[in-house]
Subunit: 591 residues, 2 copies
């Protein structure tokens, strides 16, 4: 049986030593003192370990079952979902006007991490609901907000996002789902949507589907897409539930992982839908939630790696196999634990240094979202827009890579489902695909975000690194192991950006390097996070913090990342510098 313990100390370190949340001039942050965040995170961790994690394997094994149009979730899910509702965990950052706690997004993120690590498939039910909440909150009418938000806040009703159709995913302009106006201002929605997470289940009274569709007679392509609310059960004026709407589940998809989540084909057959926001502005409504949604998926990537890592460490300490070449570490036993072997440590250090860097990067992103929203800070908004594809693409690619690496520590047992390591890899795999496949993230980064506002935000990012280095180069320990490699990696990244600019006449040159650029930027971001964390840890040690081992471990882990992971930027630059010619050389028929 796999284990999971919320890394509350590491979470607190990021919130307070790194981000110093309670010192920030952002409304609501003043309440985020160490005691408060500790209480929240500890409690979230407890729920994660005790309630959600035991159901992770159950969800994977049982999956969701469709019978007579009704979806049965795995044993225990319903009760656990009720506990989440009762505990008020479903919408910490929602508006108090609609029953939320109004906490900063960074706090929501820190509390979500343990839930996602413990049971990703389960947590998606509330994750999708949060997405639906955000869409209606940002773009719905007052009446829509009054009708739906209080129920979505509590997860009495859950939500879904309906974008994909069988023939169109990324290219939503090809969409065929139609909306025909009714006389009363509502619409008849008809069409088929696929890959609808939490599309149908037995854990809520009602399900609020947010559906993209084309209003008949509207503009062609992506400019004719509108967003609709399509409730499973119609809602009466008094808030009670009325007739069943014309939406039904066609089937549940058999997937590689996240079996605990019901991924549905949804059929809309003249279902009644209510326009959210303006006609034909559906994509804009979607985009406003995108930074948060994608940050949430990036979190899934590293959170699965975190769980897998914890188990790999336990196994490496437990499993006796071979001897330390420098002398037996367990001389009275038949063999030494796996963890004495350098290659096992290389693997574990790769995982550890990634996960901790990724956590810092993600929480920093959440902090930027708070600053953008609560302080109307356009620079923060631009910066998080730039970072979003990197958080999503890099952290999910690496999250899967390291979940797989953790599985490898188990040898043959890693391949046996009973040991649970396969599930982490299989579950993590989806995060690279949904909410925009990672190739699309790379395209968004290089094709759109780099040039956003005249390249202002990427310049600001480089400036931020430069300033940090300049301000701290007097610190010898930091300079040697952290600032020097950060400077080199940042130089590589700038050189890649320069290459794109100088070779812009052939757009394929930049697009061919987009994936490498995304990874490169991910490394630089984690390098910056590690340099900052190392500085924070050094300061804590200097100021006489009692837990010296914790801070020293933090610095040693960062040193590993800077020495052994960051040099990947040079490889990515070398690839980018070869341009698009070798990539585009073949005729399609010659593949």
């Amino acid at each position: 049986m796999p284990i999971y313990n919320a890394p509350t100390k590491d979470i607190q370190f990021v919130l307070h030593d790194l981000l110093k949340v309670s010192e920030q001039d952002i409304p609501g942050f003043e309440d985020l003192d160490r005691d408060f965040t500790s209480a929240v995170v500890e409690e979230a961790g407890k729920v994660a370990s005790e309630v959600l994690h035991p159901l992770n394997v159950v969800g994977d094994t049982e999956g969701c079952v469709l019978e007579n149009g009704v979806v049965r979730t795995p044993t225990g899910f319903k009760e656990a979902f009720q506990q989440m509702k009762d505990g008020g965990w479903t919408a910490m950052d929602c508006d108090p006007e609609y029953g939320g706690q109004g906490l900063p997004y960074v706090m929501h993120t820190a509390a979500q991490e343990p839930f996602v690590s413990a049971n990703m498939a389960f947590n998606m039910y509330q994750g999708l609901t949060h997405g639906a909440y955000s869409a209606i909150y940002a773009h719905g009418s007052d009446a829509q907000k009054q009708t739906y938000l209080p129920k979505l806040t509590t997860c009495e009703w859950t939500g879904t996002m309906n974008l994909t159709e069988p023939h169109c995913g990324t290219d939503l302009g090809l969409m065929r789902t139609k909306a025909v106006p009714n006389d009363d201002g509502s619409y008849k929605i008809s069409g088929q949507k696929i890959f609808i997470s939490a599309g149908e289940h037995d854990m809520a009274e009602n399900i609020i589907h947010l559906v993209l569709a084309k209003i008949q007679g509207g503009p062609e392509g992506i400019k004719g897409v509108s967003l609709f609310i399509v409730p499973k059960f119609m809602v009466n004026e008094d808030g009670s539930l009325g007739a069943r709407n014309g939406v039904s589940v066609g089937k549940i998809e058999e997937k590689m992982g996240i079996h605990g989540n019901s991924t549905c084909v949804m059929n809309y057959d003249e279902a009644t839908g209510f326009l959210v926001g303006e006609e034909h502005k559906g994509m804009r409504a979607m985009f406003t939630m995108m930074n948060e949604a994608r940050l949430g998926v990036g979190l899934q990537g590293y959170a699965q790696a975190e769980s897998a890592y914890q188990n790999a460490v336990a196994y490496a300490n437990d499993r006796l196999q071979g001897r330390d070449v420098t002398g037996a570490k367990n001389p009275d036993g038949p063999a030494d634990p796996l963890i004495v072997h350098p290659d096992i440590r290389r693997n574990l250090m790769d995982q550890k240094s990634f996960v901790e860097g990724a956590r810092a990067f993600t929480y920093w992103g959440a902090y930027l979202i708070d600053r953008a929203h609560k302080n109307q800070d356009a620079d923060a908004d631009g910066l998080i827009s730039l970072m979003t594809p990197v958080i999503k693409g890099f952290l999910t690619d690496k999250g899967f890579e390291y979940a797989t690496a953790a599985q490898q520590v188990y040898g043959g047992h890693g391949y046996i489902e009973e040991w649970g390591m396969s599930q982490y890899a299989r579950d993590a795999r989806i995060a690279m695909i949904y909410e925009g496949a990672n190739g699309v993230q790379a395209l968004d980064l290089v094709g759109r975000k780099l040039a956003l506002d005249g390249g202002k935000h990427v310049m600001a990012f480089f400036e931020m690194i430069k300033t940090f280095i300049k301000e701290n180069e007097g610190n010898e320990a930091l300079n040697k192991d952290f600032l020097t490699p950060l400077k080199a990696a940042s130089k590589d990244l700038q050189a890649a950006g320069m290459y794109f600019m100088q070779n812009a006449t052939k757009p394929n040159n930049a697009l061919s390097g987009s994936y490498d650029f995304m990874h490169m930027m991910g490394h630089v971001c984690l390098g910056l996070m590690w340099a900052r964390m190392a500085k924070a840890a050094m300061e804590a040690l200097e100021s006489g913090a009692s837990d010296t081992e914790f801070y020293e471990t933090k610095i040693a882990t960062g040193r590993y990342y800077m020495a052994r992971q960051l040099p990947a930027t040079a490889m990515h630059l070398a690839r980018i510098n070869t341009g698009g010619d070798t990539i585009m050389a073949l005729e399609a028929a010659n593949f």
Copy 2:
């Protein structure tokens, strides 16, 4: 439904243009002319596509079922296995004295590839049998050979290899399975073995288990391990089957993939076993088969990537999504096919250039095995010993990586089991683990093989590269795109070897870099293969070969590998040069 078509042209290219098999002075190679190998490979491809591939999804979906001690293989497996036997595909390279066709190992390898690509789990039944054949052929008594080999050659009986126990995998010295001598020279074998592929099934009359066990009173640890034949049914003197032996299946493991293969827990309860070779020399018997077995697993790695690649290409040509930024390629359609997008091409070129390089590397390894065995060539034997961990470790790591990359081309559909892409990734995953986990391959390479015979073989490998570069640097096209990057990569590899030597006082320095070294060497080997293939393709074009498109595609694919993959060596060198300090920095308790 996934597709598979054997890449017969590419296979022929490696056999004839690259390896020039029929011109080699190796007994039996004179018969390997183009017509003969073409006939074999075409026919193997046909069996693979028509018989084995349709059962790949069936095997994954149904799996193997244990009922009352009997294992039922998936629907159609039995009939297909019979077709393999009838077609004489089960032991092409076996000794004609025992019913084999006596063909070179390289021919066996070329015929196996389509089988493995089409249905890896199915093909393991004969793969394990081939392993058992080889062990008895190399170490069995004449009587044992007469009794078992003819039946193993035809797969009327199948074989298994029993090494792992619940508490010991890599460290076989910890083994507990016991052998107690009987008066008649046989032994009573008792113990439990796990992860036994093809351990029990319904496709053969008898199963010949090769079991490692410790003879009571023998030396401690690995030096006390002996190898035994334990037949499922005892074999009478006249060759007929007698009583059931004391071996039974405990359970079938639920695995991440290769569901079509029955991976069993095997219980030995005073089963009658017959010593193979000498007492306490069981590991030596195992080691003699290891090069072939590990090469076979390396083949599994790239063969799964090949299948996945073929499907990714088909999907990328078929799926319409978005527009080519340089102008619509399918202006009359609603969108362009995926393959117009640079990042999709990057992904496909990564896969293609890896798979074709891996095929060349593997066949070259098979050719070295032939040369070592048939010409008693000690240099070839040393070289393949050096290459074996690289073929196994690098090709399975990358094979999984690219099977996953192919899955990514499908977007959301890649995650849905119905489309078949998940299976390639899940099946390929095991190859990184069994037959020695890849970390153990890296240890074998750096800890043992580099220093083998005073470092003679690695020096010979470097010399081979140097000579090839020197002989061809007058060829301008080859020099610029192939020899120059090969030289740089080879220099990186030598620098890493130098680092290990100069820092040998702390063994953890070399061991910490072992995994990077294995990957680095894999890249250099594929770089060498591509330089040679490019040369061969250029020569074919110069000599007026009619299929210019094929050869030009080959060169362009190689150019991609050299430009975009080979630069990874610099990153691996950078990692290696940081030594073991950052890896070994933490106390075990601080992970």
